[in-house]
Amino acid sequence: MITAERKPFEQIRAVTDQFGKVLVVGCNTCVAVCLTGGEKEAEVLASQLRIARGQDGIAGSVETVTVLRQCENEYLDAISEQVKAADLVLSTACSIGPQGIAERFPGVRVAPAMNTNMMAVVKGHHHWAEYCVACGDCGIFNTGGICPIARCAKTLINGPCGGSQGGRCEISPDVECVWQLIHDQLVSLGLEENLRKISGPKKWSSANTGGPRSMKKEGFKP
């Protein structure tokens, strides 16, 4: 899933204060699952904005509507009237949401309330961790099903650097050393010889650095 975090409130204020009718649009898929931008969080943000704007005497209104996915036009069409009536649409989706709204409704002012941060696995309640950076060239079969591109601070593909200590990464004790995990996994799978093999150089052309990507599937044409 994609996770996103809400921007600092003052940044949101700085944008929204210029507008009278603000429509906070929640997204009830990825960002709802990561408890930051679904219906409930959109309502919380709207409530905060109303209180703050009320204190400062900013005229206008802050209302909320939530769609299942802002990245799909069909869902956006359902809120077309509310969007068009608003002076500003504030999206609590990942960055795809506000872009989708901007594209679908030309002329409408759109602002992101969120910073998109990662493609994550749910480690537990209130805990997500980045497991993929969409490099476009998945090689985790050779690393015990664990991705060093997403999960090593230096995207190392040939084993841990000298900063691996006690299973933790040198950049922070909160970060696991993925190569310790890969090492232990390969040992437990009896695949120690994988550790000896030299990998790479990594093919980055399939990643975002190779240019904006799009995907089209062959098949049924409506």
């Binding site: 009830n28 679904g38 309640h125």
Partner: protein, 665 residues
């Protein structure tokens, strides 16, 4: 202190995903009183509101609050944790408390049309039917052959359990509704049955079981042999019973026999011994009745059957034979005796209390059909006899049972009569209850001892007919009510709103939510404890709570702010207000407080919001609930800071003394 008005009349059962399950207490109750709601209202100290809930289904709230056999308590899931809630005593507490407030005793005055129904018998069944018919706009006229109304409640139950003035108040409420009770009128003697039927649009036979059964043994003709019903009638009426001696033997092991024994003990001041066929553990009387009788000095001889009454003109004793078994393999009553193992119990009085029967002679042969045993032929579904327009209810058709069961029968008959008379009513669907608590859930619930109702000392109470039980009183009543587990009142889940995020699965302390491989969720109502944590965490607003819903809480916030600039989100269990000056929004646990609700309070104009919380080392009403409360207050403070409000305007206050879960002193 601002009055907490959190619990509203409609606070149960919002629409979302309601599976229709009800608390076991309510389902077990023959008249399906919404016990959970009135218990919660008593916990909140709102007695008149509680009494109003009781009156929804119960025409005799004060009387039943004293003498009910309370099957609700047998079903109470608290019993799996420690002991059931003292529901019956709480019911009494509601009426006592409301009376002290001077509220809840003004009957409604329904407008009657021109149809009227004759009800023969003013016992619990007849009165319940009359009450319900009156509310349908049908005029009931109750005929009672005794000089005063109440049926067996008056003639069979003694003042020490049900004071006459209490019964009078219940009856006065019903007559206050416009129900006419003609006492001292014996159908079949003063008015013929046909005449009665001709004068009314329908007739309800609710005459109960007014005759005592006797015993076919030698010596029953001796002076000193009495029957239970006339004996109790005499004692209840305050008449002398000249045959009563000082060594009294009561034959029988049921609740009536217990009443006979306890009355005989009071009237005679002598020795009273009960003799019953059943072994100790088989006695049909409720164990608490047996316990009270023994406490008052009544002796009980089990597994003995009467062989003969000894005496030549005057009772000298009871010859008994040992009873080997009472029931046959199918569980039917079929006692077997050892005819050679005889013994004699000396005594000067024998009171036979082995059961009652009906006396249908008043029908005079023109009424509905009787079967070969003289019992009414009866359609249980429609409460109908074989004569059109003549219905029956209560023990006359159900056989002996609890007063509340007789009321249930009367209530059904009222509906049947209403239907018969074209009123738009129907028999309600039988409610379904949640199942037992899974063992691990029962183990997670904090224990709290049941408050026992205080009683007058045994040596004092056997000397008079004053009421034995004194009522719980405010503190114990509210504390006892606080033990309620809110069965079936927890999470309500909307499949259409759910986004299958599994948040509820992760946060529920009781593992109530379960998701299948497709992310389809089910919240097991047997496990849910209504703590509200899932409600606060669900990002898609797919979960609401039956008690209280988010809308209920918002409405309560609005109401709280009408008289105050501050709001307290408090624990609705007793004596735990943390901000007396604030408008109260009381919650079963502040764990159900979401960030959105906190902000709503500020948005609605609260200058300060107080939140009550249990201490860290004390789980309070719900395991881990206090952690969620603390987390939401932290979140709330950050949210306030972000928007330039003083985070200290959100005040977290520890509830220091939680009497609700403490053992009784």
């Amino acid at each position: 202190m601002a009055q907490d008005q959190t619990i509203t009349r409609h606070f149960f059962r919002p629409g979302t995903g309601d599976d229709g399950l009800r608390p076991p207490c309510e389902v077990a109750c023959p008249i399906h009183t919404d016990a959970q709601r009135y218990i919660q209202l008593v916990a909140a100290g709102r007695y008149a509101d509680a009494l109003e809930v009781i009156r929804d289904t119960n025409a005799l709230p004060q009387s039943i609050g004293r003498i009910c056999a309370h099957p609700c308590e047998d079903a109470c899931r608290r019993g799996q944790v420690d002991e059931p809630i003292a529901i019956c005593n709480i019911k009494r507490e509601a009426s006592d408390g409301a009376k002290a407030e001077g509220r809840g005793y003004d009957p409604p005055r329904p407008q009657f049309g021109d149809r009227k129904v004759a009800i023969i018998g003013s016992g619990p069944s007849g009165l319940a039917a009359a009450h319900d018919l009156a509310l349908m706009g049908i005029r009931p006229v109750v005929y009672e052959r005794q000089p005063e109304a109440g049926g067996f409640l008056r003639t069979g139950i003694l003042n020490y359990r049900l004071p006459k003035d209490i019964l009078d108040e219940d009856i006065a409420y019903i007559t206050g509704m416009g129900v006419e009770i003609r006492t001292g009128v014996a159908i079949g003697e003063d008015v013929g049955f046909d005449e009665l039927a001709a004068e009314h649009d329908a007739v309800l036979i609710a005459v109960g079981l007014s005759e005592s059964r006797s015993l076919p043994v030698a010596g029953v003709d001796n002076r000193g042999v009495l029957l239970a019903v006339p004996f109790l009638e005499a004692v209840n009426a305050g008449r002398e019973v000249p045959e009563l001696g000082k060594e009294i033997i009561v034959i029988g092991g049921g609740n009536v026999a217990i009443d006979v024994a306890r009355s005989a003990r009071r009237v005679s001041g002598g020795d009273v011994t009960m003799v019953c066929l059943e072994a100790d553990h088989e006695m049909p009387a409720h164990d608490w009745e047996v316990r009270d009788a023994v406490a008052e000095g009544v002796k009980i001889v089990c597994s003995q059957g009467p062989n003969a009454i000894v005496g030549d003109g005057q009772v000298e004793g009871l010859e008994m034979k040992r009873c080997e078994s009472v029931f046959d393999e199918q569980g039917r009553f079929a006692p077997t005796f050892c005819e050679t193992e005889l013994s004699t119990l000396p005594g000067d009085t024998v009171i036979i209390s082995i059961g009652q029967m009906s006396d249908m002679s008043f029908l005079g042969g023109s009424g509905p059909e009787l079967d070969g045993r003289g019992i009414l032929v009866f359609d249980r579904e429609q409460c109908a006899t074989t004569r059109r327009g003549v219905f029956a209810s209560g023990e006359v058709v159900t056989g002996p049972g609890a007063a509340v069961s007789a009321m249930a029968s009367g209530k059904r008959a009222a509906i049947a009569i209403g239907k018969f008379l074209g009123v738009d009513v129907d028999f309600p669907a039988e409610p379904r209850a949640v199942n037992e608590l899974p063992g691990y859930v029962a183990g997670m619930i904090n224990k709290g001892a049941r408050r026992s109702v205080p009683a007058r000392p045994e040596d004092e109470r056997v000397r008079d007919f004053g009421e034995v039980e004194l009522g719980l009183g405010e503190v114990d009543g509210r504390c006892e009510a606080s033990r309620c587990l809110l069965c079936a009142a927890g999470a309500r889940y909307s499949e259409t709103r759910c986004i299958s995020c599994l948040t509820c699965v992760r946060v529920c302390p009781y593992a109530a939510p379960e998701a299948d491989g497709n992310g389809l969720l089910k919240i097991d109502p047997d496990k849910c404890q209504a703590c509200g944590i899932c409600f606060t965490q669900c990002p898609a607003k797919a979960i609401d709570l039956a008690v209280l819903s988010e809308d209920d809480i918002r409405a309560a916030v609005d109401a709280a702010l009408e008289g105050s600039g501050e709001v307290e989100f408090g624990c609705w269990y007793p004596q735990t207000r943390v901000a007396a000056e604030a408008g109260a929004v009381m919650l079963p646990c502040t764990a159900r407080l979401s960030l959105g609700l906190v902000l709503y309070a500020f948005e609605a104009g609260a200058g300060r919001v107080h939140v009550a919380v249990c201490s860290e080392d004390d789980n309070g009403r719900f395991v881990t609930g206090h952690r969620q409360t603390r987390a939401v207050v932290e979140e709330g403070r950050r949210a306030l800071q972000e928007i330039g409000l003083d985070p200290e305007a959100l005040v977290l206050t520890l509830v220091k003394e939680k009497k609700c879960l403490k053992p009784q002193q």
